[in-house]
């Protein structure tokens, strides 16, 4: 009813917008590059929560090649390199469940808070830890 919706309308005229601006003015070819471009600072993003699970970090030197992370990965995002006894992670396949970071015995995997990782270059989304 008009009497009920009017107070809401007035409230919203004077309150802050509920939506956030997109980080870049226009959709750039690579969002990751655009964000690190010093000439056009991005619109600030909303900070993520403490438990946010973003792109994986991998400490290759610590990894003991136990393959446990390969065993639990639901998305088959980790590939085991048999000769080197190390892994690589395809971040574009990862579903960010953090199961591998939980199971890794030497804790060489961790989730970062980086979430703007889309790119046209598939190779850019492979984490080698090197």
């Amino acid at each position: 009813m008009i009497t009920r919706i009017l107070p809401q309308l007035f409230r919203h005229i004077f309150s802050r917008a509920a939506t956030n601006l997109f980080p870049a003015a226009h959709m750039p070819p690579s969002l990751t590059d655009a964000l690190s471009d010093p000439d056009s600072p991005p619109n600030p993003t909303v900070p993520v929560g403490k438990r946010f699970r973003g792109r994986l970090n991998y400490d290759r030197s610590k990894c003991i090649g136990c393959k446990l992370c390969v065993r639990v990965c639901p998305a088959h995002a980790t590939d085991y390199l048999a000769e080197e006894k190390k892994i690589i992670i395809h971040n574009d396949r990862c579903c960010f469940c953090a199961q591998c970071t939980e199971v890794c015995p030497v804790k060489c995997l961790s989730m970062s808070s980086q979430f703007m990782i889309s790119s046209y270059d598939r190779k850019a989304n492979i984490v080698t830890g090197a």
Binding site: M1, R4, I5, P7, Q8, L9, A18, V48, G49, K50, R51, F52, R53, L68, R71, V72, C73, P74, A75, C95, F96, C97, A98, Q99, E102, V103
Partner: protein
């Protein structure tokens, strides 16, 4: 002399969120018959599960549905816990209940907003979507993600509810108690919204029983069915839940779209009460029985048998049945019955006598999740086609259920819903 035209709505249509086709027989603007043809979004998730171990399938089951993902996870996990006899610590049960209710709130708010959008009431749609952000924020704080939380695991949950989180949840509950009533009144007292939703898409009480409607769709037709009451799981054993039926609030149940709106909106208040009670009673102690995933996997490798998990998802009963074979890493077989499957058979009845313009609203009124529903696909494999009558099919079904039941405990089987309802 009237001519009947057959018009398809879908599979891709502005009024629908997911692909399904409704072939409507029209006389002028009036719908005189309807046929529903699903089959556009089958993804073969069960097949993928057969090359994954139970831990991996948790995250696969989460992807059956984006909105009620946690319900599917809990149903799947409960099925595995049932077959392997895993115990869940009380604190984990309460945390699961909290997340289930948070999910119900965001699912119902989304539906209420989209229903307003379907009838062209965009101001209320934006209001609903803005309000929904609050529960999404709490979910993100608690689990790290806004959808597909990844918070549950066998024998408990993966992340605890800390005191700050409990505080954030209390604040959210207070926010909704304050802000939700104006939204409800704006929509329900609006004469246009009433005209669009009252006596549209009616499913009577008897029809709801006969066609096995579940969840809010059944409750809106006046059936007192709610698995949280009739076969409590997790913390619902401690927290009493009364099914929300329109006759308790408005005197009579019409079984129309407005009643379905009212039931979902009132369930949001109920969820807030449940969350308050769960936070009050949150027991101390561990939140997972066995934190070592390797040990869990090793014990599940030995497990053998079939387990059931049936819970009340935001849309109705969600059933998962899982079978594991001893010595085998992977899931042997897995069957999912999502609530939309039960509710979709009522669609043709709801369409009767309504106008074409109401069709998207009626389709949306059961809160359909087509991705949840499409669990199998019959392809032409070159074999003989087989046509069975309804009686034969029922007979085959019973025989299969009987065969299933003879090997396992039949606990929990078959109590999925209507029993509590027919005896008012």
């Amino acid at each position: 002399m009237s001519t009947t035209y057959t018009v398809p709505i879908g599979p891709v249509h502005v009024g629908l969120k997911e692909p399904v086709t409704a072939w409507l027989d029209l006389e002028g603007e009036r719908i005189v018959g309807a046929k529903i043809r699903p089959g556009a979004i089958h993804r073969g998730i069960e097949f993928m599960a057969r090359e994954r171990n139970p831990i991996q399938v948790i995250y696969l089951s989460e992807r059956i549905c984006g909105i009620c993902s946690f319900s599917h996870v809990i149903a799947f996990i409960r099925a595995i816990e049932d077959l392997a006899g895993l115990k869940v610590p009380p604190r984990a049960q309460y945390i699961r209940t909290l997340v289930l209710e948070l999910e119900r709130v965001h699912s119902h708010l989304l539906w209420a907003g989209v229903a307003c959008y379907t009838i062209g009431f965009d101001s209320a749609f934006h209001l609903g979507m803005q309000m929904r952000e609050r529960v999404m924020d709490v979910l993100e704080l608690l689990t790290g993600n806004r959808v597909n939380y990844g918070v549950a695991t066998f024998g408990g949950v993966r992340w605890d509810v800390t005191p700050e989180l409990a505080k954030a949840m209390r604040e959210m509950i207070r926010y909704y108690r304050r802000e939700f009533t104006p939204f409800r009144e704006i929509v329900m007292a609006d004469p246009v919204a009433q005209a669009r939703m009252r006596n549209v898409g009616v499913l009577t009480r008897d029809e709801a029983v006969r066609y096995s409607a579940v969840g809010p769709t059944a409750r809106a037709s006046g059936l007192r069915v709610d698995l949280r009451k009739s076969s409590p799981y997790e913390a619902y054993a401690d927290i009493p839940v009364e099914p929300v039926v329109p006759q308790d609030y408005f005197g009579a149940a019409h079984g129309d779209v407005l009643d379905r709106f009212a039931v979902r909106v009132l369930e949001v208040y109920q969820s807030l009460d449940i969350m308050d009670a769960a936070l009050d009673g949150l027991p101390e102690g561990p939140y997972v029985a066995e934190p070592n995933v390797n040990k869990v996997l090793a014990s599940l490798k030995k497990a053998e048998g079939t387990g059931w998990g049936i819970i009340e998802a935001p849309r109705g009963d969600d059933t998962h049945i899982v079978s594991l074979k001893g010595g085998d890493d992977n899931v042997f077989w897995w069957k999912v019955r999502a609530p939309t499957y039960a509710n979709a058979v009522s669609w043709p009845l709801m369409f009767r006598g309504n106008e074409l313009a109401d069709a998207p609203l009626i389709i949306n009124s059961i809160d359909p999740c087509i991705s949840c529903m499409e669990r199998m696909m019959v392809t032409d494999g070159g074999g003989d086609p087989l046509i069975v009558t309804k009686t034969e099919l029922l007979e085959r079904c019973r025989r299969k259920t009987f065969d299933l039941g003879s090997g396992i405990r039949t606990k929990g089987a078959g109590t999925g819903g209507l029993e509590g309802g027919t005896t008012k």
